[in-house]
Structure formats: structure tokens, C-alpha cells
């Protein structure tokens, strides 16, 4: 009997594909964000409010993943930006292969911002790199403020925590302070925003965060055809 050393990442192949996607996004100056949360935390509604706030012609697109139905794509398609549904047919997460397939036919040089709305699940999507610049985890106040401790992998990997549905705070025993503290325990330095997609409170700081992140990935082109790509135009 012999033992052969492997020292190989399990998701090697899919990680390689994710790295390729990341390189493509970077090359085109696209900010790709992977939105993750449990089901019903408000990913789609936040995207609706976000798309609604963009002027026509904004170079933004959405890939939205669900196990079944194209309900989310239909909700998001009304804003005039490219939207595609990825139906996983049972899989509890999106992976880089699905993203690559879904992007086929889209001209990446026409995009500045790509949202990927993952399947609602606080566990599995944490293990899959989609080539995104950052994961954004959304936690609604109708869930528990101890979720970061219960699902540390996700909160550890996400760069931004969005505490959503803050309009419901008067009705639920959710402590924003504990949620923040728990998130920072798992992920020190994590950025945290609070917002309500219903009332619009806090949406401005979300937009600012997006704008800053977009600016950070845009290739520095002091002159040339890309000058008309200011985020607010």
C-alpha cells in the first residue's frame, strides 16, 4: 500500500474558472458583486430599489439565481437593464460555471456593474467563488441578530453586511448593536450598512458604497473613449 500526496484544492477546477471570470471583470473594469442571504432577506427588493435609482443607460446588469422559477428576473426586468435568471434546478448555490454560461452573449465592455443575486442560503454559497470583487451579505431584522455566529463562514467571507428591513425594527426583538457586534466578532473590520428598501432609509449610503467600489475597479484612463463612464451620468 502506498500514499500519494495530493495537496490539491477540492474546488480546483471551479476556482480556476472563477479566477478567469475575475480577470475578465477586472479587464473590463466591471465591479461584480455576489449578493448572498437567507431566503427572504430582501435581496431582490434591494436590487429593485437600486436599479430604480439608476438613470437609463447606466451600465449595469443582473444575474439572479434560484432553484426554480424566473420570478426574480421578471421582477427585475422592468427597469430596462439586462437581467438573466439562472435556474439551478435543485442546486443550493451558484457556481462559476453557471455564471460563465449565463454571461454568454453579453458584451462585458458595455458593463460597469454586475450584480449576482445568489440562491437564498446562508451556508453553501459561502464555499463558491463566482469571480466577484466582493460578497455582500444581507441580514434582515426579522431573522436573528446572532446569525453571524451561527453562519460564520458566510459572514467571514463577505466584505459588506447590509442589515435590511430596518423599518420593521419596532416590531421585532432584533438588536442592531448585537448584530454588528456578532458580525465583527466573526469578521473584524467588516463594513456594515443599515437600510430599509421599503422606506428608502439608508439607501443613499448603499449607493455611495456602490459608487466608491465602482470607482475603485475602473481602469485609470485619463483620456480616450472611456471618459463618458462617470458613475452618475
Amino acid at each position: 500500500m502506498s500514499r500519494v500526496p495530493l495537496e490539491k484544492k477540492v474546488l480546483n477546477e471551479i476556482d480556476r474558472l472563477a479566477a478567469e471570470l475575475r480577470a475578465r471583470f477586472r479587464e473590463h473594469g466591471i465591479l461584480c458583486l455576489n449578493l448572498v442571504s437567507s431566503p427572504g432577506a430582501g435581496k431582490t427588493t434591494l436590487l429593485e430599489r437600486t436599479l430604480e435609482g439608476f438613470p437609463p443607460g447606466e451600465r449595469v446588469a443582473v444575474l439572479t439565481g434560484d432553484i426554480q422559477t424566473d420570478n426574480d428576473a421578471r421582477r427585475l426586468a422592468g427597469f430596462g437593464f439586462p437581467v438573466r435568471q439562472i435556474t439551478t434546478g435543485g442546486a443550493c448555490h451558484l457556481d462559476a460555471r453557471m455564471i460563465e454560461r449565463a454571461l454568454a452573449g453579453w458584451r462585458l465592455d458595455e458593463l460597469d456593474l454586475l450584480f449576482i443575486e445568489n440562491v437564498g442560503n446562508l451556508v453553501c454559497p459561502a464555499s463558491y467563488d463566482l469571480g466577484e470583487a466582493a460578497k455582500v451579505v444581507i441580514l434582515s431584522v426579522t431573522e436573528g441578530d446572532d446569525k453571524p455566529l451561527k453562519y460564520p463562514a458566510m459572514f467571514f467571507r463577505a466584505e459588506l453586511l447590509v442589515l435590511s428591513k430596518t423599518d420593521l425594527l419596532p416590531h421585532v426583538p432584533f438588536s442592531l448593536a448585537s448584530a454588528r457586534e456578532n458580525a465583527l466578532r466573526v469578521h473584524p473590520g467588516m463594513e456594515i450598512l443599515e437600510l430599509s428598501s421599503m422606506t428608502g432609509a439608508g439607501l443613499e449610503s448603499w449607493r455611495q458604497w456602490l459608487e466608491e467600489r465602482c470607482r475603485a475597479v475602473r481602469p485609470a484612463t485619463p483620456a480616450g473613449p472611456n471618459l463618458d463612464r462617470s458613475p452618475s451620468s
Binding site: M1, V4, V10, L11, A126, R185, P188
Partner: protein, 115 residues
């Protein structure tokens, strides 16, 4: 339940190794899983065994070594295991420690019998 797709990825890689060693009987694959990897070892073993059963890969088994989250203190150089999420350095009290382990999802070895 993404453990099934992870089990399939492991078997794919193992089969890739098997092609390079024709005639070898595969016995065991060793896996390292960090506590931050988001993978449940018991579910993974269950999926792995289910995929192997009744195939030419039998009697291949999976051995999982779990790894705790570990931090490095840049102030005093101490590395320590994280207990109850506290990432403050137990020696010097520095808060800005860096994660250096616990993220692993790696195949470590393949045990086989050359025939």
C-alpha cells in the same frame, strides 16, 4: 446541501489520479476541511459513500481531518487557535490579528495499492 457537489468534485479529482496509475486499487482519500470552509464533514462523508457505493471505485473511503480557525498576531508573532470567535491575541492583547487557517478544503493524499 452542497456536500454532494463537493463529494463529486473529490471523486472527479481522484479518478483523474487513477487514470495516471492504471491497475492501482484506490483505498482512501484524505481531505482537510477548515471550520470556516462551510462544509459539514458528516454530510460530506455520507454523500461520498453514497456516490462510491456500487461503482468500480469501491472500497474507496474518505478520511476527513478538520482544521480549526487560526490567527497570527502581527505584533508579537504568536499564532493561536480561535476559541469562541475571539481573535484578540492571548499573549499581547493585540486586536488586529490575521486569519492564517481554517479556510481549507483540500485533498491531502490518496492511499492506493499498486497491483
Amino acid at each position: 446541501m452542497h456536500e454532494l457537489s463537493i463529494a463529486s468534485a473529490i471523486l472527479e479529482a481522484v479518478q483523474g489520479e487513477a487514470v495516471r496509475r492504471p491497475g492501482a486499487r484506490l483505498l482512501k482519500v484524505g481531505l482537510r476541511v477548515g471550520e470556516l470552509a462551510g462544509v459539514e464533514p458528516e454530510a460530506l462523508s455520507f454523500c461520498f459513500d453514497s456516490l462510491v457505493r456500487g461503482t468500480e471505485l469501491e472500497p474507496l473511503t474518505l478520511e476527513i481531518e478538520t482544521r480549526p480557525r487560526r490567527q497570527l498576531c502581527p505584533e508579537c508573532g504568536r499564532t493561536f487557535r480561535v476559541v469562541d470567535y475571539s481573535i484578540v491575541c492571548p499573549d499581547c492583547g493585540a486586536a488586529g490579528t490575521r486569519c492564517i487557517g481554517g479556510n481549507e478544503l483540500e485533498m491531502v493524499y490518496l492511499e492506493l495499492e499498486e497491483t
